[in-house]
Symmetry: C2
Subunit: 415 residues, 2 copies
């Protein structure tokens, strides 16, 4: 069973926003056995929307539309829907009540006409209440193809999709099972890996696809399979993944699951009752930001210092000025001292420290731009490594964060 996602909005086509909705929707559909055949982004324009709906109708069984439903522009989208389905607009009392309720609760006043107008929906639409906003979800059918329209605000869309629309899709369609598993590898390029596993890859059965996903120093290898029997898919793919990990055991660091590496670190720390602190110089808060984005981080994360200016490594973190003088601020010695001092200052079991030259200028470093030293202090000591991450600032920071998580996960797993 195939789906298409259509996102409506000029803001996407002029590059003012990145379309994150499509990735979220695709992932959720995939988990539920719905294959996304195509994603199409179109303008807030009647004829363009009509064309996109018609083309999608010819390609797939389910069309999910997001965007175009805000109070100032939903006229175009909803009128176009009505036109496509040969329908007319009627007021939905439940939606109007919800709009009045939300205005009372959040603004303590009555909605304006333009807001109440959002309660107008095509007369044949099955309507899904949006408890987080004023634009409802709408489900329509034409020649056995299902069209669903959702608001474009990610928070509202996610809630509607997961709680209302996916259950309805599961109810309506027979779907095969889709199973993905992804192996994370570090330190070797895509082509080198491909050569190492060439024979194995050629023997893969037809219903299992292998994909290479390279990015910033790591290559992810994904196996995807589709079929009627979930358990069979899972045991087949799991067995193949075992073979693959064994072949690549020098570079494989584990499977990518729903849980990202930063989440796994948090889970492990909580499980083991350990705490973490950070001393981030060149990464400037990027590691802390990843850690604290997840609920529950306060159970293990003690805090961090970003001693961006060199002298602050001494004044705040308490790193011996002589070490900085002797080895230079970007050195494994300073990284190790930073990590060890962080465990003292924050009274944490583990600490991560970064010091480096993110570029494009050298700052207080003597090494070349892209040089980064990372240290992990553990209850048993400290480990560190020096890297050269290239010239582009954004990539240097990103690679440092990735590498720090990789080193930290390894140490937590051991300790």
């Amino acid at each position: 069973m195939l789906a298409e996602i259509i996102t409506i909005g000029d803001e996407i086509l002029i590059g003012q926003i990145v379309d994150t909705n499509s990735a979220f929707i695709s992932k959720e559909l995939n988990k539920n056995g719905v294959q996304v055949f195509q994603i199409t982004s179109v303008q807030d324009d009647r004829q363009h929307i009509l064309n996109a709906l018609q083309e999608a109708q010819n390609r797939v069984d389910l069309v999910l539309v997001t965007g175009g439903l805000g109070p100032t522009k939903d006229d175009i989208t909803k009128q176009t829907f009505c036109e496509y389905f040969g329908d007319k607009m009627v007021e939905n009392e439940a939606v109007a009540d919800n709009i009045r309720y939300l205005f009372q609760k959040y603004f303590n006043k009555k909605p304006m006409d333009v807001n109440l107008h959002q309660a107008m929906v095509p007369s044949t639409a099955r309507v899904f209440q949006n408890i987080h906003g004023t634009a409802p979800g709408m489900w329509m059918e034409k020649d056995d193809v299902v069209f669903v329209s959702m608001p474009g605000v990610p928070y509202e869309m996610k809630h509607l999709l997961v709680n209302e629309i996916l259950p309805a899709v599961i109810d309506r369609f027979n779907r095969p099972h889709i199973y993905h598993k992804t192996l994370l590898t570090y330190g070797q390029g895509e082509s080198m890996i491909a050569e190492r596993i060439e024979d194995w890859a050629e023997r893969l059965p037809d219903h299992i696809k292998l994909a290479y996903l390279p990015s910033l120093g790591r290559v992810r290898l994904r196996l995807s399979s589709k079929g009627p029997d979930e358990n069979q898919l899972k045991s087949e793919v799991d067995a193949l993944m075992e073979e693959l990990s064994e072949m690549l055991k020098d570079i494989a660091v584990g499977y990518e699951s729903e849980t990202s590496i930063d989440r796994r670190i948090g889970e492990l720390l909580i499980e083991k009752g350990h705490t973490l602190s950070l001393a981030e110089s060149c990464t400037g808060g990027a590691i802390a930001q990843e850690i604290t984005q997840h609920a529950g981080s306060s159970r293990f994360y003690r805090g961090s210092i970003v001693p961006y200016a060199t002298e602050l490594k001494t004044s705040i973190l308490g790193v011996d000025a002589d070490i900085i003088e002797k080895y230079n601020v970007v050195s494994i010695e300073v990284a190790e001292a930073m990590a060890q001092r962080a465990t003292k200052v924050f009274q944490s079991d583990f600490a991560v420290a970064t010091t480096g030259i993110a570029g494009p200028t050298k700052g207080d470093g003597v090494d070349e731009v892209g040089t980064v030293c990372i240290a992990i202090a553990t209850p048993k000591g400290v480990v560190s490594e020096k890297f050269l991450f290239g010239k582009a600032r954004e990539r240097v920071i990103r690679k440092s964060v990735n590498k720090a998580f990789e080193m930290l996960l390894k140490e937590i797993s051991k300790n």
Copy 2:
């Protein structure tokens, strides 16, 4: 003149990655007067790619394709291109040389066959060297429509697009000018703003479009215009924006330019010779991460402390424990003390402090989830405000960062 972007890759359609390339390409094309009509994401599949090329050919003048060119999967994409253009593959010597050069430089060895195979290109293609990777850019034409293929790795794509492909596009097509200007407003909803400016919006000339872009406590109002005379567009839109800012002066905080608010803060601080430090509790490093992502931040940013655990606000930052006891850790009094202590500890002119309950659980706070206090210490004193940002952790953090930047910019501009 119209363009379409086609992104190729199963990883997009299963939601494993977010397509950020399209937003970058759209923005660059727009700046150069090329309107992006549609963005289409398709699978690594011969027939699907052929269909997408054919459909795009019927819609636009320029088709930009990204992805599908990695060493392990470029066969499908390039063979499909050859098939679409009725062409055959030949080896390009310059590309082969570049591949050998990159392998020598980065791996100190010879490329493998699978890498050298990336030097095979359609015989009629105009080839653009990719100095950052092994997959070249390719330019082909069919019935007056231009097709350009680029690698999907963002870093390589961006470089090729900006330095090689855009100049060629500018050379090849007559383009109108496109001019956008966006006003940032805080604190009022889309529908309320729409009502306030209704009469004005109705009088806008046909070639100027108004759009509302609401997100997380702010609404951006964008005027877009298109025409042959750049200066005329600019002066028209600028004058209209003056009117709009005047009408909305209670909620307008400035124009959005190429420069984001975090970048503007950095520029202003450098210009005035002032420094900044941060004490981020509930935002956990997110402000630091935004600040340090830009080159040159070390010229004004001294560093930050993330005192995530309550007692660290005293032990590291030196906030009086009595204040925390008396007013509670989430209070404007504690936020102000944190900001003022940060200016002392880091010897900075300005400091931002955040303390709050990002949720979903309350931690050490007594207020409801979503309560956040933000303080800005300045050379002349300290300002602070208490907010209620809703229940969703990610949104609470994001709104806190936005609000902190807004308050900080205001204070820097005054001081």
